[in-house]
């Protein structure tokens, strides 16, 4: 792929990272951040994750992509240049975030008042499950 495509991919994944970080932070998810930040971190940018999450996790299971962002960046930079590396770094940060933390925050945000108590330990479960999976992926990559 040409470097222009990788530059576009880097920008798109940076937006997806901003949106993921916003969803991962309850206060930020529910408040206005200012026009520019609201656009940059809009949930629309999560759309490419429908494809990217599955592919990235699939590659990690097969040991073809490290779950450690700097290593993933190196792997992709070797294949497609520095912008590919930057994309790889950001996508892996996003995947790590979604495996470790973000789903529990999304579930808590939308939980009905009477279901909040049940959600209290969900982040801990999310962290534990994510850590086990990422640990396994790390071993698969080495």
């Amino acid at each position: 792929m040409s470097s222009q495509v990788w530059i576009a991919a880097t920008l798109l994944s940076a937006m997806a990272l901003a949106a993921s970080l916003r969803l991962s932070t309850p206060v930020a998810a529910q408040s206005r951040l200012g026009r520019a930040l609201d656009i940059a971190a809009h949930p629309t940018w999560l759309l490419p994750l429908i494809l990217a999450m599955g592919v990235a996790v699939g590659l990690m299971i097969r040991g073809d992509l490290s779950p450690w962002p700097p290593e993933a960046a190196e792997q992709l930079a070797r294949r497609g240049g520095p912008w590919a590396g930057a994309t790889g770094f950001i996508v892996v940060v996003i995947v790590d975030l979604w495996l470790l933390w973000t789903p529990s925050m999304v579930a808590r945000r939308f939980a009905a008042e009477d279901a909040r108590e049940a959600m209290r330990w969900l982040p801990a479960l999310n962290l534990a499950l994510g850590a086990v999976l990422l640990g396994a992926f790390y071993l698969a990559a080495h």
């Binding site: 996790v57 590659l59 579930a107 009905a112 108590e117 209290r120 330990w121």
Partner: protein
């Protein structure tokens, strides 16, 4: 064949994507189990257990290992009959994606609107709960009717393997929509994409919602063929089917619509009515009264989609 190396790449990509998707499905199932436990419910509903250990073990393995191969082989018969070809390149993949969505839409719609096919597909819809375990409620015969429904698309020149991969993979997004735990999305997003709310409509048995929202990942074909229905705040979805199951016994779940279908087919007085029983619209064909009184549809455990 000129396209072959690229086709191999696409197949490999879909394999990787499916592998990742399986891990994400495992995660949401673990979350669902945990939350049910924390909410004081059994970690797995009886329905969920049956789904996981009966339907999920039978269905996907047979389908992945054997039936999808037969489906692609069957579709190649039609591919060889047509002089038309839609090349498989990076630039035509969006077209294949749309064709896959179109194929899924019609497979799904006919599975609801033809009684013989509904007897199979209703297994997936028979759960009165609406959570991630519904994903595991597998229907055993769907591959067989995908063949005739997708053959006309292949006759337009679409490569069978790529069409099948897209038609099966993109709707996998629905995996993450079988939940009442996520709220409403932006109106434009709900207009364009399958969301938990859109798919809750699809799984509801309220008259307003019945036979709506067949899309896999996109809602565009529903808009085009006028089967789109948004989730209305004034009508919370009642999940399940219009003849609710009173048992979670796996054999009864598997056969719950086939038995009345066979009974009605036998009892229908004319050939036309027998034909109607098989290929007519559920609820609109010759039908003997159901032997058991029909209980009111069970409400969802988690209540309406917020």
């Amino acid at each position: 064949m000129m396209d072959q190396p690229f086709i191999d790449q696409v197949v490999e990509g879909v394999k990787i994507y499916s592998l990742g998707g399986a891990v994400l499905l495992f995660m949401v199932l673990a979350g669902e189990t945990f939350l049910r436990w924390r909410e004081g419910k059994a970690p797995w509903s009886k329905e969920g257990l049956n789904s996981a250990f009966t339907f999920f073990t039978i269905g996907p393995f047979i389908e992945q290992a054997f039936l999808n191969g037969l489906l692609v082989a069957g579709l190649f018969v039609f591919y060889d009959l047509t002089p038309l070809r839609v090349p498989v390149t990076l630039w035509t993949l969006p077209l294949y994606f749309l064709a896959g969505e179109f194929a899924f839409y019609w497979f799904h719609r006919l599975a609801h609107e033809i009684r013989l096919l509904w007897a199979d597909h209703s297994i997936h819809h028979s759960a009165a709960t609406y959570d991630f375990t519904v994903n595991l409620r597998f229907t055993p015969f769907q591959t067989f009717y995908r063949l005739p429904i997708w053959a006309p698309i292949v006759l337009l020149g679409f490569h069978p393997l790529i069409l099948v991969l897209f038609a099966l993979t993109a709707p996998a997004w629905q995996t993450f929509c079988h939940t009442t735990r996520i709220g409403r999305f932006s109106p434009w997003f709900e207009w364009l994409f399958v969301t938990p709310a859109n798919h809750a409509v699809h799984h509801a048995s309220n008259p307003l919602y019945i036979d709506k929202n067949y899309g896999g990942l996109l809602m565009i074909w529903d808009h085009l063929f006028r089967t789109y229905q948004r989730l209305e705040d004034h009508t919370p979805p009642v999940f399940g089917i219009t003849h609710p199951l009173t048992t979670a016994h796996p054999i009864k779940v598997l056969t719950h619509e086939f038995v009345p279908l066979a009974r009605d087919l036998w009892a229908a007085p004319t050939a036309r009515q027998k034909f109607g029983v098989l290929f007519g619209r559920p609820g609109k064909t010759f039908e003997l009264p159901r032997t058991r009184p029909v209980p009111a549809p069970a409400a969802t455990e988690a209540g309406a989609v917020p």
